[in-house]
Symmetry: C3
Amino acid sequence: MHAPFELADIAADVLARLRERAPRVHCVTNSVAQQYTANMLLAAGAVPSMTLAPEEIGHFVRGADALLINLGTFDAERRAAVAAALAAAEAGQKPWVLDPVFIERSAPRAEFARELIAHRPAVVRLNHAEFASLSGGGAAADAPQRFAQAAVTVVALTGDADVVTDGDRRAEIANGDALMGLVTAMGCAGSALVAAALAVEADAWLATVAALTAFGVAGEVAAESARGPGTFAVAIIDALYHLDRATLRERARISLAEVSS
Amino acid sequence: MHAPFELADIAADVLARLRERAPRVHCVTNSVAQQYTANMLLAAGAVPSMTLAPEEIGHFVRGADALLINLGTFDAERRAAVAAALAAAEAGQKPWVLDPVFIERSAPRAEFARELIAHRPAVVRLNHAEFASLSGGGAAADAPQRFAQAAVTVVALTGDADVVTDGDRRAEIANGDALMGLVTAMGCAGSALVAAALAVEADAWLATVAALTAFGVAGEVAAESARGPGTFAVAIIDALYHLDRATLRERARISLAEVSS
Amino acid sequence: MHAPFELADIAADVLARLRERAPRVHCVTNSVAQQYTANMLLAAGAVPSMTLAPEEIGHFVRGADALLINLGTFDAERRAAVAAALAAAEAGQKPWVLDPVFIERSAPRAEFARELIAHRPAVVRLNHAEFASLSGGGAAADAPQRFAQAAVTVVALTGDADVVTDGDRRAEIANGDALMGLVTAMGCAGSALVAAALAVEADAWLATVAALTAFGVAGEVAAESARGPGTFAVAIIDALYHLDRATLRERARISLAEVSS
């Protein structure tokens, strides 16, 4: 098992690989988040694409190194895009992340999220309200790892601290800043970073811990110069772009827990 | 009748309620404006949602405290979304704002706006060209209040000064900055703030005066540090987030006029 | 033939005309780029519109001074919008720019781009991968001018240096900054500036040289104050808004070459 201090180094390694390899990440994401997600991926070193057209999304996913499926502004166009993207990802064994945005507000969306989880995303990134909707409301401390075990996925449950578990390993990341909740699509951009990390790190749990640690630390660095959520949204892009190993080592606050299975 | 200086305090009260209650505002808005509108609402303390999918928009509107209908990038998807959103808003007696973007450029859009006004929005927020299209070109000084009386709505006619009238009361707000006209979706974001204010202030005229005053003052504060329209677009988000009672009292320039009916 | 130093002055003239005449530019562009493109056009003095609805796009294009057709996030809605927009542009003899985004990644998109080029855009703005896809892979130094001659268009091939040729004249513009490649929709926004320039300069080659020179110089100015791609994306908007003749004269790096035909 990795020690917490090793995980900061792994986050730095993952960032270095993103910058070196420039993996392609195809994003089926909501119209509110497309621009911000693309800019976050570019700042991390990845190359985003965003098309939803059924006749060409397969081309893009086959050429991509990872896939993000985000259910915000869920509509017929995006449902069709998801089906085509998923088929291409499964055929090409590409890792993919599910971000089931706002499923607690819409029963059809929650149902669709459950169907997608049966297709085994590498990672499900979601907040507490979304997790409660998905898991049937279980708020027990071990609910994430039990869900991860049952669904054979990594659960990344973000909030004041982020919990990342694959059912066997469980990390808590205490980085981040409250301003992250005041910028639209911030969570979506975080999920896209997880997808990018999957493209350069085969261990999905490690990739997720690395991406969310880098994201949270970038948020903390940005908060130091931001004058509000407007400048913060801009500053976190710069902070991620410049994020280095020394800053990650100094700031990462990751704790690990044994998981009884 | 309120004295002008009281209105600055009411604007501060409305902002305080937004920050405390975090009302949900569902937005049927154009694709250009979605991200900026969401960030403006978050900066004001509200919680935006943006989905357009007909099978779930009803869920979102029923859970929302106010609704925005913006006609920019008007298309079949959005027309269907508007119908479903409006049905849910009417069933739930949710207040809603109509922003009839660019109706002067498109006859079908103007016709659709007229149909919507028959459904009695709480507020219609629009610029002079849009108002001329809607009202048949009447440029008389009392045209806004006559339109407000006939349509049983609040008219918020924005320009160098903003006129807000419900047919009985009329306020002019002389705040704002010319840079606001150089940022896309700025007017759309202002309309969204009006919708948010309706969620916490039952008097639609007062809510509109409060929202547009806060918006204009935030614009003035932002202009002081901005180096152009790029930094301005970011700075107004910060300014709204930090806007306080003292600044509103000091800067609000609201004048009231008697309306002869 | 113009001397290189004259071209910086022409860029300043074109900017001055944009600010004075405020031409309307209708954009059929991808959902990732809409907001940023609109803000770039506003900063340059132009007035953007973005609707895609088939029943009203004709109204908008007939009232516009130039048209941009960008194939990013290519879908059925945008294909229909392109057909309607193009019909209106051809009927009204409006100049238009084609930006064949990512055609190297999608065969159907490349095929559609070829059909559009048969309709004679005034300018095709694209990067090297896109040009290779369109021209069948010819990487010879004179490939752009041969393509321009065959297609009776201006080719604007952007990269480390931008090549602009109408088949007879060829300019290379060595301005710009590497951060421009780390902001999504930056190329799309550049193509929109070319469309705006076509609205105020009848010589499409000159208009393109002017727009890309102004864009590249604004990028260099922005890079001086930017702290990363986030602040850069904001700063280039400010820089374009303030760009003046003295800065263009001082910084423009344009070289001209004879074209053997």
